[in-house]
């Protein structure tokens, strides 16, 4: 009895990390693909993207959680998106101030974050079905999941694409410039997702 309770406890504890590992939004669930594929070409761009994404998603989801549940579902979705568009205003000003050149380079991908799947679908399907405290942890974990995966993706992409990391040339003999294009991004993300799945399978088998 005690053993099964302790097993259950461990399972519950692990589910906290769903957003990072089991249901990673970039490598596993495909919730937020577009900005990663088209905009996270260099680490600098990725950091600016992560900065804007984290702030918009976190504040939009938290503020949206106060929207009364008795409002019709169709209208609630509009309100969530509208809240995200309002949160975008200070976030865009802040991002432009901190990362001026990256903000321009990211173009339409920053404003498009107001309709990311965390806000338009995960709110109702996952986040708002939990208690406020659990929701907060889950949202942070999902955002961290996005942040970490985009950081890893852009880090490897920049190395393989340009043979450099920022201003530092790494002297790699063969580079793949096509990785800078969306199709290169799709294929590279697909390969990394397969690698991530392989790691998950190995971990599952060992456990």
């Amino acid at each position: 009895m005690a053993k099964s309770q302790s097993k259950k406890k461990i399972k519950i504890d692990m589910s906290i990390f769903d957003g990072i590992y089991q249901k990673n939004p970039v490598f596993t669930s495909g919730l937020v693909i577009a900005p990663a594929v088209a905009a996270a070409i260099t680490v600098k761009n990725a950091v600016a993207l992560i900065f804007a994404f984290s702030l918009i998603s976190f504040f939009a989801v938290i503020i949206s959680s106060f929207v009364p549940r008795d409002i019709v579902y169709a209208v609630r979705i509009i309100l969530y998106t509208f809240i995200a568009a309002l949160v975008y205003v200070p976030v865009a000003l802040f991002t432009k101030y901190v990362f001026p050149s990256e903000f321009s380079a990211l173009g339409i991908f920053i404003p498009l974050l107001v309709v990311n799947s965390f806000i338009t679908s995960k709110t109702e399907l996952r986040f708002f079905r939990k208690t406020k405290k659990d929701m907060l942890v889950d949202v942070i974990m999902h955002i961290l999941g996005f942040d970490l995966s985009v950081l890893i993706f852009s880090f490897l992409r920049e190395i393989f694409c340009f043979g450099a990391l920022g201003d530092r040339i790494l002297g790699i003999p063969v580079t793949f410039p096509i990785l800078a294009l969306p199709f290169g991004g799709f294929i590279f993300l697909g390969l990394l997702s397969a690698l991530f799945r392989k790691i998950q399978l190995i971990v599952r088998r060992n456990n």
Binding site: A34, I78, T81, Y88, L112, S121, P177, I178, F183, S193
Partner: protein, 197 residues
């Protein structure tokens, strides 16, 4: 005749040169949801095309009024979201009143086909590519059709990408991304692009 030419040119630009999925990677998550079953795919396709066309119509007036402002980049998402929301509400009310059967069929996913990167991306791209009202409408139409073309290519092999014959680590999502990447590369070549030698 000039109007038709404007619509066709803008549509073809949106369908092939600026294909929302293959050239811009926008709406990838939406396409993954849309192709899960055939009925849903048809509903998504019609809905996205419809919303893109009417939202493009409204966005023309929004752009004319605000795009020259120094701070337009801050308020355009709010304006576009409102434009899409107006069409969304009017459509839902009309469906509920007059076509209740369709309303019941689409209400589970209609919000996903309305508030997504493909629709909002079409409005942002429209402000860069089009200049006339018919150009805007044509671009919106082309974006919707472009999304249908891309999703159709995905839907015809969707089941095979989950086949038991595929190694487990590639099965499903990773292979879908690689497949979209290969199709996107084919589109890139089809448009006459060449890689530097």
């Amino acid at each position: 005749m000039d109007v038709i030419a404007q619509i066709i040119t803008a549509s073809f630009t949106a369908m092939f040169i600026e294909n929302i999925l293959f050239a811009r990677a926008l709406g990838s998550s939406t396409a993954l949801i849309a192709v899960k079953n055939k009925q849903q795919f048809v509903g998504f396709s019609i809905s996205i095309t419809y919303i893109c066309v009417f939202a493009s119509f409204i966005s023309y007036f929004i752009d004319k009024a605000f795009i020259k402002s120094e701070y337009s980049y801050l308020f355009m998402p709010v304006a576009y979201v409102l434009a899409v929301a107006v069409i969304y509400i009017i459509t839902l009310v009309l469906l509920w009143k007059f076509l209740n059967r369709i309303f019941l069929a689409v209400k589970k996913y209609v919000h996903l086909s309305t508030f997504n990167c493909a629709v909002l991306g079409a409005l942002f791209l429209n402000s860069r590519h089009s200049d006339t009202l018919f150009g805007y409408i044509g671009f919106g139409l082309g974006t919707g059709i472009g999304f249908i073309i891309a999703s159709y290519f995905l839907s015809i092999v969707y089941d095979r990408l989950f086949s038991e014959d595929v190694p487990e680590s590639f099965r499903g999502y990773p292979l879908i991304l690689i497949y979209i990447g290969i199709l996107s590369m084919a589109f890139y070549g089809f448009l006459g692009h060449q890689l530097a030698l």
